[in-house]
């Protein structure tokens, strides 16, 4: 399975899908890549001793932003300017609000929930759990920043909010439903299907969202993530089943991240999140 398209982040992925109207579905074709070279996997895919693709690594090498800009930045400062439409943050924010909701691939909710979703979206500054520093949860958090692979388990580490997931691959079954405590990331179990790691998660709470536009879910959500390594790229794709709120499973767009080229790269501790803006907001705009 080739990556759907090269996406630095959810924002760019959404923007690209909107601009190029990438087709929806599990067999999604590739949208034209901005940088064809970047999409070519470099080198072979290493294997572990038990014959599976080796997913170990720090997978934040392809994300936008960050990086070491050197002394020039320290001397001269970094100016951020908005180049379009009058160069103001107002226009950028409003454009971004639209762009982030323009992806033709969106979860299809049952009609009785549409008003609720619109209301959650419009009131997102107050309602979006991530806005008040709560977790993103699975699958909103996306692909991991670092993977540690052992024969019995996968450990996924995420830069955001120092999040971790431990995913047994020893073949154990899910806990019975009445024992499962609803959590933000669910109870995850992993197994291999050919060269793809498949992570199956249940036991979610209903507090998290699938995305910015008020996409809530029920406790009966079931998420299947598929992860493949291709040379120095990792492709992550998730499918969300939630028969309580969705008309059909939501097959999310795949995302591709790159191996950090620095073999000594470490994840940084995420600083605590604190929310102080809500008391001072005078409109409901958010993006």
């Amino acid at each position: 399975m080739k990556p759907g398209f090269f996406g630095y982040s959810l924002v760019v992925a959404a923007a690209m899908a909107a601009l190029w109207l990438a087709p929806v579905g599990a067999a999604a074709q590739r949208a034209p890549a901005r940088n064809a070279d970047a999409r070519k996997a470099s080198g072979p895919t290493p294997l572990t001793a038990d014959g599976h693709p080796d997913l170990n690594g720090v997978w934040n090498g392809g994300m936008g932003g960050g990086g070491n800009l050197g002394d020039d930045a320290a001397e001269n400062g970094i100016a951020v300017r908005f180049n379009a439409r009058g160069g103001t943050p107002v226009n950028f924010e409003r454009d971004n609000t639209l762009v982030r909701r323009m992806d033709s691939n969106r979860p299809l909710y049952k009609p009785e929930f549409w008003e609720k979703i619109q209301s959650l979206d419009q009131n997102g500054s107050a309602e979006d759990p991530t806005y008040s520093c709560m977790p993103e949860g699975v699958p909103r958090i996306g692909p991991p920043s670092k993977i540690v692979q052992t024969p019995a388990e996968m450990i996924f580490l995420y830069q955001g909010r120092n999040t971790f997931r431990v995913i047994p691959t020893d073949g154990r079954p899910h806990s019975p439903e009445d024992v499962l405590e609803g959590t933000w990331n669910g109870e995850s179990l992993g197994h291999w299907e050919g060269d793809a790691l498949v992570v199956d998660s249940v036991g979610f709470n209903d507090a998290g969202w699938l995305g910015i536009a008020g996409y809530f879910h029920s406790e009966h959500m079931h998420v299947i993530e598929r992860i493949r390594r291709d040379g120095n790229t990792l492709t992550w794709q998730a499918t969300v089943e939630d028969p309580v709120v969705l008309l059909k499973p939501w097959v999310m767009n795949a995302r591709t991240v790159r191996l950090n080229p620095n073999p000594k790269a470490v994840l940084e501790e995420a600083l605590p999140c604190s929310e102080r803006d809500l008391a001072h907001l005078v409109t409901k705009e958010h993006h």
Partner: protein, 137 residues
């Protein structure tokens, strides 16, 4: 079509910094770029947090009355790239802050740039409202 892509790309550094790609509050819902303030005062508190770093300064008016102002900056990651370190500003430092005032009339502003009296260095504050001008050369 191309212009929209430019908008996204121009701001991409803001969106995909250390923050997870979640929701972002709107600069425009809280601050007014048309109400610029320049504040001189003494730092009383510095908080290096996500999604925004904050600091507080005591500002004295001509009559000597002191008001404590809150200043919001960008994320610590963005600040690092703009030349800040965690020790750039400490309690007791004298600073000059240029920024956009909060729309609700509180003693709160979004800092665009901070000039440190001790070194004379003027640093951009990685503001989500942009820098508004070319960087110093």
């Amino acid at each position: 079509m191309r212009m929209r892509l430019t908008v996204v790309v121009a701001g991409i550094g803001l969106i995909v910094t250390a923050l997870p790609v979640g929701a972002h509050h709107s600069f425009n819902a809280e601050y007014d770029t048309k109400k610029q303030v320049t504040l001189k005062g003494v730092v009383t508190k510095v908080e290096w947090k996500n999604p925004h770093a904050y600091f507080y300064i005591d500002v004295a008016d001509e009559a000597g009355k002191v008001t404590n102002w809150g200043l919001e900056m960008g994320s610590p990651n963005g600040l690092m790239r703009a030349g800040w370190t965690r020790n750039s500003m400490k309690i007791g430092d004298e600073v000059k802050v240029e920024g956009s005032r909060a729309k609700d009339g509180s003693s709160l502003a979004n800092a665009t740039a901070v000039t440190l009296a001790s070194t004379g260095q003027r640093l951009f504050a990685a503001s989500s409202g942009g820098s508004g001008e070319a960087p110093p050369r």
